[in-house]
Symmetry: C2
Subunit: 401 residues, 2 copies
């Protein structure tokens, strides 16, 4: 079986490398050799180990009947969408790491694949190398999945871990992360939570079988989290993590991305640095968790190649995926009740207590501010009261499990 790789960037070169370096092992596992025949990129790569496979014309791939699987690792939702659809329409399976495209056009592309007896697989789009799409589609098939909560973005988890361990502030850690290449020069997609939002939307779609539109998901990043907040988190035996949270409530799905103060009894508590983890709650199994490297060249490539192998094993057949184009109804976050953590200036505590009765004051020696954990309160009520309280509220973070 011949494979084409579209996009020779970080993940693309990883895919070619994994297929070449684990070739013997893969052939043994599936009883058939898998080989990359074309690498599509607009650039030239003189001196590259796989220079002879580089092509610039997508039609070479589309017109070659030997090519049964195409890896789309270009990114974006323009040309990538066009090429993916073209390949599927010709009965070539497509494996991708492109979460933006999966979140935006997943159900449509799955339908095109099914109609053409080939597959559209996207294990690498969430959690990098962590097998999480497969558990939802193939392993937890006897389960009604009720809740998915995940640390889905390695960059923000790295930043939060550094802030926690070193007491450093967000801007400084971000700058350092950018210098080291752990964060992009243009970090919005990560730090504002958009990347995590796409991923939780994909997982929520698989949970409900309908389409959770990522553009309608409430999303809050980590830019307002401060080193001071971690002082109070620690005092409570907690940590602050950027979570994608999704809960199937039957008629509607409650889904959001936001920083959350989680307890040290939560298995996500110990997920540090660039690691990702996804906690899945099923009606029979209870909690299970999937942990690993959520990004990086080889981990992500390994997930793409695992999908390639599935396509080879199922050549000429569609691997079904229950994700219909029908939009899932997203619950109104304003109506959700929960506890909140507030960091409050010394002068403001009385007003905060009056606004949110029945909460708990957290003090840390030597500090001028103080912490306050509210009783359960509706999001909209919380927001309105914080508005009234004004400047005395220094930070606000949702409390998690």
């Amino acid at each position: 079986m011949k494979v084409a790789v579209m996009g020779y960037g970080t993940v693309g070169s990883g895919v070619v490398e994994v297929i070449a370096d684990n070739q013997e092992l893969i052939a043994k596992r599936i009883g058939e050799a898998v080989e990359v025949k074309y690498i599509l990129d607009i650039r030239e790569f003189p001196g590259d180990r796989f220079e002879d496979k580089i092509v610039h014309d997508v039609n070479l791939i589309m017109d070659d009947p030997e090519v049964g699987v195409v890896c789309e690792v270009m990114g974006g939702v323009g040309v990538a969408y066009q090429f993916t659809k073209m390949a599927l329409e010709r009965g070539k399976s497509v494996c991708t790491s492109n979460k933006e495209l999966v979140a935006k056009h997943g159900p449509e592309l799955l339908q095109v694949a099914a109609a053409n007896h080939c597959s559209y697989l996207f294990e690498a789009s969430v959690g990098g190398g962590i097998p999480i799409i497969r558990p939802l589609n193939n392993a937890l098939t006897a389960e009604k999945i009720e809740m998915i909560t995940g640390i889905l973005n390695g960059t923000t988890n790295y930043i939060l871990t550094k802030m926690e361990r070193e007491g450093a502030d967000f801007a400084d850690v971000l700058k350092e992360a950018q210098e080291k290449g752990y964060a992009e020069r243009n970090p919005e997609a990560d730090v504002e939570g958009h990347d995590a939002c796409r991923k939780i939307s994909i997982l929520s779609s698989l949970m409900t079988g309908k389409t959770v539109n990522s553009e309608k998901v409430y999303t809050e990043g980590i830019t307002k989290v401060t080193a001071s907040d971690f002082v109070y988190a620690k005092a409570m035996g907690r940590s602050i993590k950027l979570l994608g949270m999704s809960c199937d409530q039957g008629d509607e799905v409650q889904v959001m991305v936001a920083p959350s103060m989680i307890s040290n009894q939560n298995p996500l508590y110990m997920v540090s640095d660039v690691f990702n983890a996804i906690l899945v709650r099923g009606n029979m199994l209870g909690d299970s968790m999937y942990y690993g490297r959520g990004a990086g060249k080889l981990p992500t490539a390994s997930a793409v190649v695992a999908d390639v192998i599935d396509c080879v094993k199922n050549a000429g057949k569609n691997i079904p995926c229950l994700w219909s184009p029908e939009e899932a109804k997203i619950a109104d976050i304003a109506e959700v009740e929960r506890k909140f953590f507030l960091r409050v200036s010394a002068s403001g505590m009385d007003a905060v207590k009056a606004a949110f009765p029945g909460g708990q004051v957290i003090t840390v020696e030597g500090r001028e501010d103080a912490g306050y954990v509210t009783a359960s309160v509706k999001e909209k009520e919380f927001a309105a009261k914080c508005e009234t309280l004004g400047d005395v509220v220094l930070s606000k973070i949702r409390m998690g499990e």
Copy 2:
């Protein structure tokens, strides 16, 4: 598709329950209804919800062409082996939670299944409801798996967690666990590590593709771990866990079951109570971890039913599994080098330091004994020197990552 369940004990009744309660969901996922037609048990169950399905004659199942999948949840390696083989020979797929049988006859039964165009699946045999067999067989297919380390037994993890949190001693916690039903009246299989041994042998077989004979695996239980050892573990930021450890070294596989002092940076550190977790190291992906309930009626049943669903989806076909009857060469543990923790009586520290130069003394205020962590030393050398040191060595536990 009709299913037969052999053995109506805890897991068996869970399987029947999961299939009945998630029936609609399962039918939607696979486009076909799955229904239990027979429950085989020697006992009667008057008044049971599924009383009408109880049968006592295995031939009813074997001779019924409607039955395509059989769940073997009887346990043991006698009748269970005989019935499993009989079903496979008639082209009926078998799904099991019986780790003893899988560890002992896995490769043979896989061959019988392949020869008869049906499948032998055993997701529930390791890690209860945690999908771990599937990642190894279907998700991490692009990976060369180099190492597997797991907390594979819920009873011992529960006991160790209680000892750690309450400072209680093994015997007391075991007694309490037995009263609560968390440990069996005859607890040897758990506390002596035999159960974990079978599971790490199964995982090692899947890692190497050969048969790792569980009877040849060095196995040490938790009966010698004391509350005092946890005091020193805590002082070092560590915990004590019963680990199944396996490492593919190409020509041979290094595998053992033993208590290990692991650091709080190890993702297995936070796995408490009855939870299990398996850490898998691949050559591309690095570390990934699978966490969840390793035992219990519904979690284990959920894994069996996930296998049933796979069999239904692959009716008339063998789901391949790379596990040959050829025995893997097991490395001689005596030659392995590692660090050890010793708890030493006050009078013995000088002798211990002299026997194991270059180590580190750990003291805890108010205690008469002391801790010592050796430099790297071969297992056989360590054992010989401990023999010579005699009574001054109060405890010895391997240091882990």
